[in-house]
């Protein structure tokens, strides 16, 4: 049992505080200087709404890249958790449960150690029966040797400001159970997990939150959206920070309204953002075309989940890549970025708002449930507000407008970008923007020469966007027997697979695309052209990135490892796919 690399799973019914327990325990581990990756999971189809939360923690400097298929510690808040997950516990692992759950007979014959105490009774005696989850986590902390102070610190953070009584009751429950478990069971593994006092300060956060934080810091002033899992937490993040940070957040009547509100606000001159998932994005597609022809900057955060239609509402997928690139009628420039880590989500918020402003175009940020709802420990230094530089592109000041004596909103320029002016900010800044094809002054026209010139002007911005596009990330030896090709949240599991293969004497590397449109053709050719064996790893059934690469470069990737069961990639899944 590697004591430096421990996976936990907490399971229970909806309402038992599974997600808050998982997030809280993850934060305690993060504060202890350990690296953490935690992901909630919801079984919609099982009666009672079974939820579980998986955490992997590693004592090292590098972040945790992927979750493991098996866990070392199963914390069961109800009997169902034992029945569903006992098979996922590694031999010699731990099962933590209330004595009353009858865990002993459920796991008879399995190679795992049961750590059972009367959790509900303890919680009731020292606080409140709802704090049984706190008691269960305290057993886990004691068993792995996580100092109690980190648990108590999180209890203080979560409840201290809300209610002294609740914070103190939880503290009593945690302290009593921790001491009792230490006395009764001792340390479960060879050495305590302990803490890393010299670790740099770290945050615990997921993609949606990191993106929201970056957006607030980068001057996003207007957000309109409609809740849709797994994008909702971004909308909620912006709403909860709106009043303090001077942002207007509108929960619209539907996604059609949301995207059109963004177009209106963008036309007015502020930085705008909307967030949605597949079905909501479908509704936004017409609005995208309006943003395109009126050249209104627009950032859409699209958190993918499996479709079609409702599909699997709370699970993950990477099946909207080609839709993102090709959505909406007509031809117009856009950029598609798929951030792969929390810090990349953070930076992408600023970058997307900047690029949308500079090229007066759509920037689509393609995330997924796996990135959106995970909790990962990340160094604080990666989230420096001062590192985000705001670029707003070409604007005319009132002095410019005065000097010009007039204003052509859609002036034909070499780079296709016409300087903007705040509508009505000056007597010369009076102009029409139209969803119909228009002249340089914005008024409607069907003149074939102008129609052609306007189409070319808009598409000329693709050249500028091509200059913004970054080459794919590459990891592993320059020459390898095997090259994985990936995008989005599968980055971590693929990198773990690469490391694992190289450690076992095989050679493998990876080419991971973050900027997907305009497609980095030259860089892709260079990265993939000389590869001996290419394997695309994607969370979809049709290998959409491989198809994109084929169409853009001619390179055929005919070997794939695809996952389309709604679950995120694990290293085991990738390695098994390679063999099979």
């Amino acid at each position: 049992m590697p004591v430096q690399d421990i996976s936990f799973r907490i399971g229970g019914e909806a309402g038992q505080g599974v997600e808050s327990s998982g997030a809280g325990f993850s934060l305690a581990l993060t504060r202890a200087g350990l690296q953490v990756l935690g992901t909630p999971s919801y079984y919609e189809r099982i009666r009672g709404g079974h939820n579980f939360f998986t955490i992997r923690t590693i004592k090292r400097r590098e972040p945790v890249l992927s979750l493991a298929e098996q866990v070392d510690v199963l914390i069961a808040l109800n009997r169902e958790t034992i029945d569903l997950h006992k098979g996922c516990v590694r031999p010699g692992g731990l099962l933590i449960a209330d004595e009353a759950l009858g865990a002993g007979e459920a796991v008879a014959g399995l190679d795992l150690r049961l750590l059972a105490l009367p959790l509900a009774e303890i919680a009731e005696a020292h606080g409140n029966v709802v704090m049984a989850n706190t008691a269960a986590l305290a057993i886990a902390a004691a068993a792995v040797g996580l100092p109690l102070k980190y648990m108590l610190g999180v209890i203080e953070t979560n409840f201290g400001a809300r209610s002294r009584a609740i914070a103190e009751a939880n503290t009593r429950v945690a302290t009593y159970t921790y001491d009792l478990a230490t006395e009764t069971f001792g340390l479960a593994f060879d050495a305590p997990l302990g803490d890393c006092a010299d670790a740099p300060p770290r945050l615990l956060l997921g993609g949606n939150t990191a993106f929201g934080m970056g957006a607030v810091m980068s001057g996003c002033k207007f957000v309109a959206g409609y809740p849709m899992t797994p994008s909702t937490s971004l909308l909620e993040y912006m709403a909860s920070h709106a009043d303090r940070w001077g942002i207007v957040v509108k929960h619209a009547e539907d996604e059609i309204a949301a995207v059109n509100m963004c177009v209106g606000a963008s036309h007015a001159g502020v930085r705008t953002l909307t967030a949605t998932s597949g079905g909501g994005f479908d509704l936004m597609v017409e609005g995208i075309s309006l943003a395109a022809i009126t050249e209104s900057p627009l950032v859409i955060f699209l958190a993918q989940r499996p479709g079609p239609a409702t599909g699997l509402a709370t699970r993950t997928a990477q099946a909207d890549l080609l839709m993102a690139i090709h959505s909406s009628h007509g031809e117009f420039p856009r950029m598609v970025i798929a951030p792969h880590t929390p810090e990349e989500h953070f930076r992408t918020a600023c970058r997307a708002l900047n690029i949308a402003d500079k090229y007066q175009c759509l920037v689509l940020v393609l995330s997924d449930q796996q990135s959106a709802s995970s909790f990962a420990s990340r160094e604080k230094a990666l989230f420096d507000p001062a590192s985000l530089e705001i670029e707003r592109g070409k604007w005319l000041s009132t002095e410019d407008l005065e000097a010009q004596g007039g204003y052509l909103r859609y002036a034909l320029t070499d780079d296709g970008v016409s300087p903007r002016a705040i509508p009505g900010s000056h007597p010369n800044a009076v102009f029409l923007s139209s969803g119909n094809e228009h002249r340089e002054d914005g008024h409607i026209t069907e003149d074939p020469a102008i129609v052609r010139a306007m189409a070319e002007k808009r598409l000329a911005k693709m050249r500028g966007l091509e200059g913004e596009v970054r080459p794919p990330l590459r990891h592993g030896p320059a020459q390898a027997d095997l090259t994985f090709v990936s995008w989005g949240s599968s980055y971590g599991p693929v990198l773990d697979a690469v490391n694992s293969l190289n450690a076992s004497g095989r050679t493998a590397n990876m080419v991971h695309f973050v900027d997907l449109w305009p497609f980095p053709k030259k860089a892709a050719l260079e990265a993939l052209g000389g590869a001996r064996r290419l394997v695309a790893v994607e969370g979809n059934a049709t290998a959409q990135l491989a198809s994109l690469i084929r169409s853009q470069t001619g390179i055929l990737i005919d070997e794939t490892i695809l996952r389309y069961d709604g679950r995120g990639f694990t290293t085991e899944f990738i390695l098994a796919g390679l063999e099979g």
Binding site: T30, P201, R202, L204, L205, V216, M217, S218, G219, K221, F222, A224, A242, D243, W245, G246, I247, V248, K250, A252, E253, D254, I256, A257, N260, M261, C262, V263, G264, A265, H267, A268, G269, V270, R271, T272, G287, S289, L290, T294, K380, P385, A386, I390, I422, P423, G424, S425, P427, A429, V430, F431, L432, S433, S434, G435, N436, G442, H443, I444
Partner: protein, 292 residues
């Protein structure tokens, strides 16, 4: 002080001779002048349809959007810049059909802009199909046997959702329409003006004379109280119907705050005039610490 000439552009309307849109066009410009607005003060958001080309034919701030979406676009614009006077101009298919959902929600929010709906009870730009306000039995290219749908009642619908300014105008009565627009421009919150207009090409049965015979002004009725919602609702239910058509300001209250008045971020002025970062950059560390 702006004059009518200040609102003129070199683009000539493409409407049919005799179209009700000309009357609305003139009434709008006159109301802007009367209310003391300069072209840069106005943001006119339109949808798609004959009358939605209104802002192509005027020198004002304009945003000519998608069919049915003008209320949503106008909402976004207004929230980003409360320093402009926002007015939406669109047709009955646009406003009550394609944009029906936006209509309901814009009304209940009391968004602070004027919503002028050019209601000719037919689709003009697509050449004569049944609209949400067409009478039952209306024969058109998409309802050759006569429409089975009953017409929507926009004024009653708006009142039922708490509208704070509900008016009906006629494209043929320019002075009344100019008055209604001027009043609406001064209203606090959402102001609906449903303008009945002729379509000389596709709805000839409802001619100028047809309207003249049926229309009357509510304010000419003795003791009409436009602050009484129940009275207004009774008036609104008269049309669509078989009898007379009430016009004028059916209902008005200035006691309900406009939506934007309640937004904390706007207490510092229009959003577009505020700095991108409202606090010193080091203050943003607070956001980072929330996750430690």
């Amino acid at each position: 002080m702006a004059t009518l000439q200040d609102f003129a552009v070199d683009v000539r309307p493409t409407w049919c001779p005799g179209c009700g849109d000309y009357g609305i066009w003139n009434a709008l410009k006159r109301a802007f002048v009367q209310a003391g607005f300069d072209p840069e003060d106005i943001m006119m958001v339109t949808g798609v349809g004959c009358g939605s080309k209104m802002n192509d034919y005027m020198r004002i701030g304009g945003l000519h959007t998608l069919h049915g979406r003008s209320l949503a676009v106008a909402t976004g614009f207004l929230l980003a810049n409360t320093g402009r006077k926002v007015i939406t101009v669109h047709g009955d298919g646009d406003g009550y059909g394609e944009g029906g959902n936006h209509f309901l929600h814009t009304v209940r929010r009391n968004m602070g802009f004027v919503d002028l709906v050019e209601n000719n009870q037919v689709y003009g730009l697509t050449r004569g199909q049944v609209s949400p306000t067409s009478r039952a039995g209306f024969r058109s290219s998409t309802s050759p046997s006569g429409a089975l749908d009953r017409p929507i009642n926009p004024l009653a619908l708006a009142l039922s959702q708490g509208a704070t300014f509900v008016a009906r105008g006629l494209s043929l009565d320019l002075p009344q329409l100019q008055y209604l627009i001027t009043e609406a421009l001064g209203h606090r919150g959402y102001a609906l003006i449903d303008v009945l207009q002729v379509c000389v090409s596709y709805n000839r049965a409802m001619s100028y004379d047809w309207y003249r015979e049926r229309a009357y002004k509510v304010e000419e009725e003795e003791g009409y109280d436009s602050s009484d919602q129940a009275v207004a609702m009774a008036k609104a239910l008269e049309y669509p119907g078989d009898g007379r058509i009430p016009t004028g300001i059916l209902y008005r209250t200035e006691d309900v705050p406009a939506y934007e008045e309640g937004i904390a971020a706007l207490s510092a002025g229009p959003l577009v005039e505020q700095p991108l970062r409202t606090r010193p950059i080091e203050d943003y560390e607070e956001l980072v610490r929330e996750h430690m």
